[in-house]
């Protein structure tokens, strides 16, 4: 199912594809993708491995050609920057030289002030004069971001930008993405759904090369998740789980901690009338019941499972 993504305000979308397809010698990588990336949005492309995320991003930045469909990108090539999942640079170039080169490649003057500012913003000021060949994976990821931001892009395409980073590095990348929101349109592919949920205002879900959903994150979370409740109770939980799983209005019971269950139900009405009774009949020592916070991971698994 593909839904049109609402545009931010009345501005035309920055990226539009219609029926976009790509196959490799008969193997379908993308099929009939109608992508709409609103101008100024942070658009998250999520999907399991092999879903076609990297292929889609590669087509958008001109590194691959689609085999069918059309692509409209309302920005010149020089104003598009790509950060691959594992950025790589000439190992004998320093970070400062990489950023200066990135500016020069898109026709911007490699001014020392602009280069230094970009290095500071990405946390590389102290490593500015070190050769990138000695950088850790996390530093290369930062350098990739620096090189991308140095070009002052209108469209920033990030392919799994935080996949290789430690928690602090991931936090920094997500903060950078958040800082860029509004001024730069960001297309962000990731399989770390909490990252996507944190920074993306629009989401497209890919599976097997097809776009299953596209739209604002809040619509996805509100409209696509089956209702669920978090039940906090004293152990033991086994009998209670058994009783809940036997109830016809219960879809799924998951342990969410030592004293916590997540109960996915067929309908909110049924849960509101039956949940307390079922727990009482099972002799549960209930501490609390609350509607479960909907998270992208559950929605994603429901859509792609």
């Amino acid at each position: 199912m593909t839904l049109p993504a609402p545009a931010a305000g009345d501005a035309p979308p920055l990226v539009t594809t219609r029926g976009l397809g790509k196959d490799y010698a008969g193997v379908v990588a993308l099929a009939d993708v109608d992508l709409v990336v609103p101008r100024g949005s942070v658009y998250g492309v999520v999907g399991p491995n092999g879903a076609g995320k990297t292929t889609l991003l590669s087509i958008l930045v001109g590194l691959k050609q689609q085999t069918s469909g059309t692509l409209e990108v309302a920005v010149e090539r020089a104003r598009i920057a790509l950060v691959p999942d594992t950025p790589s640079f000439e190992p004998w170039l320093t970070a400062r030289e990489v950023v200066a080169l990135a500016r020069s490649l898109v026709g911007l003057a490699p001014s020392a002030e602009a280069v230094d500012a970009t290095l500071r913003r990405t946390g590389l000021a102290d490593a500015a004069d070190r050769a990138s060949g000695g950088f850790s994976r996390g530093m290369l990821q930062r350098l990739g971001l620096a090189a991308a931001m140095a070009g002052e892009p209108t469209l920033l395409v990030l392919d799994e930008p935080a996949a290789a980073l430690d928690p602090a590095g991931r936090r920094d990348v997500l903060d950078l993405v958040s800082d860029l929101r509004g001024g730069t349109t960001i297309l962000f592919s990731s399989h770390i759904l909490t990252d996507v949920q944190q920074v993306c205002d629009t989401i497209g879900i890919l599976r097997d090369g097809r776009l299953l959903f596209q739209g604002p994150t809040r619509d996805l979370l509100a409209g696509k998740a089956a209702p669920a409740f978090t039940v906090r109770l004293r152990p033991p939980l086994d009998d209670v789980i058994g009783a809940l799983e036997a109830a016809p209005w219960v879809h799924l019971v998951e342990r969410a901690g030592l004293e916590r269950l997540r109960v996915t139900v067929a309908s909110t009405d049924a849960a509101e009338t039956e949940l307390v009774r079922t727990l009482a009949d099972a002799g549960a020592r209930v501490v609390g019941i609350a509607p479960a916070e909907v998270d992208l991971e559950h929605v994603f698994l429901e859509l792609t499972g």
Binding site: E90, E97, A102, L105
Partner: protein, 248 residues
């Protein structure tokens, strides 16, 4: 920092220039010496057999130099050129350049020109070394013939780098590009077996330095020079158009 400076840095920081200069200079200095003392060298290994060679001439010194440098030296040129021209590997590095530059020629031109200039500079250095030693050990060389021969041989080297550029559009890794380019350069003289083509081939220029020194008229090299020039241009066009279409 720009793409031209990048290539200059590549030459300096990967020490490619040392490899180029060293191999050409080494053979430049070795060639005339080995020509001058070849008879004595062979005699040492010949035992009781008496070795008699014709007296070495200045052209023999150059012949020794070119014979070595256009094999081992040319392989070094191909390796250096392939290192610079294999710009679609690794893919992530290629993405940095390719996603920012719409015309592949923007990337190809500085890589081709800088490698070619470095190769020609190394060749000139080696030839000056060979020239000096030849004069000291074997006799004078005609200045005009030497300069024209150096120009024509440089043209062949530019052709060899263009062959490498074209090979880089068929293969991605330097380890695949070098044998492909070497194979083409080895195959070109074989076309000389077709009699009508013999005097038109770029490989004719490999003998131009010695030929001009021994008195071959310069006009004899006009046809292969023109063919080499056109072939290099066609190869670069082929490389650019294939690389432009190639997906990462």
């Amino acid at each position: 920092m720009n793409l031209w400076r990048l290539e200059w840095f590549r030459l300096l920081r990967t020490r490619s220039w040392i490899a180029l200069a060293a191999v050409f200079l080494f053979f430049g200095l070795l060639g005339p010496i080995s020509a001058r003392y070849m008879e004595q060298i062979l005699q040492r290994f010949a035992g009781d057999v008496s070795v008699v060679l014709p007296p070495p001439t200045p052209a023999t010194g150059l012949e020794q130099y070119l014979g070595n440098v256009m094999q081992i030296g040319l392989l070094v040129v191909l390796a250096v050129a392939a290192g610079a021209l294999a710009f679609d590997q690794p893919v992530e590095r290629a993405a940095f350049y390719r996603s920012r530059v719409s015309r592949v020629w923007t990337l190809l031109a500085p890589r081709y020109v800088v490698v070619t200039l470095a190769t020609v500079a190394a060749f000139v250095l080696g030839t000056l070394g060979a020239w000096y030693e030849t004069v000291v050990l074997l006799g004078e060389l005609p200045v005009g013939a030497m300069l024209l021969g150096m120009l024509l041989t440089s043209l062949y080297l530019a052709f060899a780098v263009a062959v490498t550029a074209a090979a880089s559009s068929f293969a991605r890794a330097p380890l695949a590009i070098v044998p492909l380019a070497a194979g083409v350069l080895i195959a070109v003289p074989l076309l000389g077996l077709i009699g009508a083509l013999r005097d038109w081939l770029p490989s004719v220029l490999l003998g131009s330095l010695v030929g001009l020194v021994v008195g071959v008229p310069p006009v004899e090299y006009l046809r292969p020079a023109l063919v080499t020039l056109v072939a290099a241009a066609v190869l670069l066009w082929l490389a650019a158009s294939r690389l432009q279409r190639r997906e990462l």
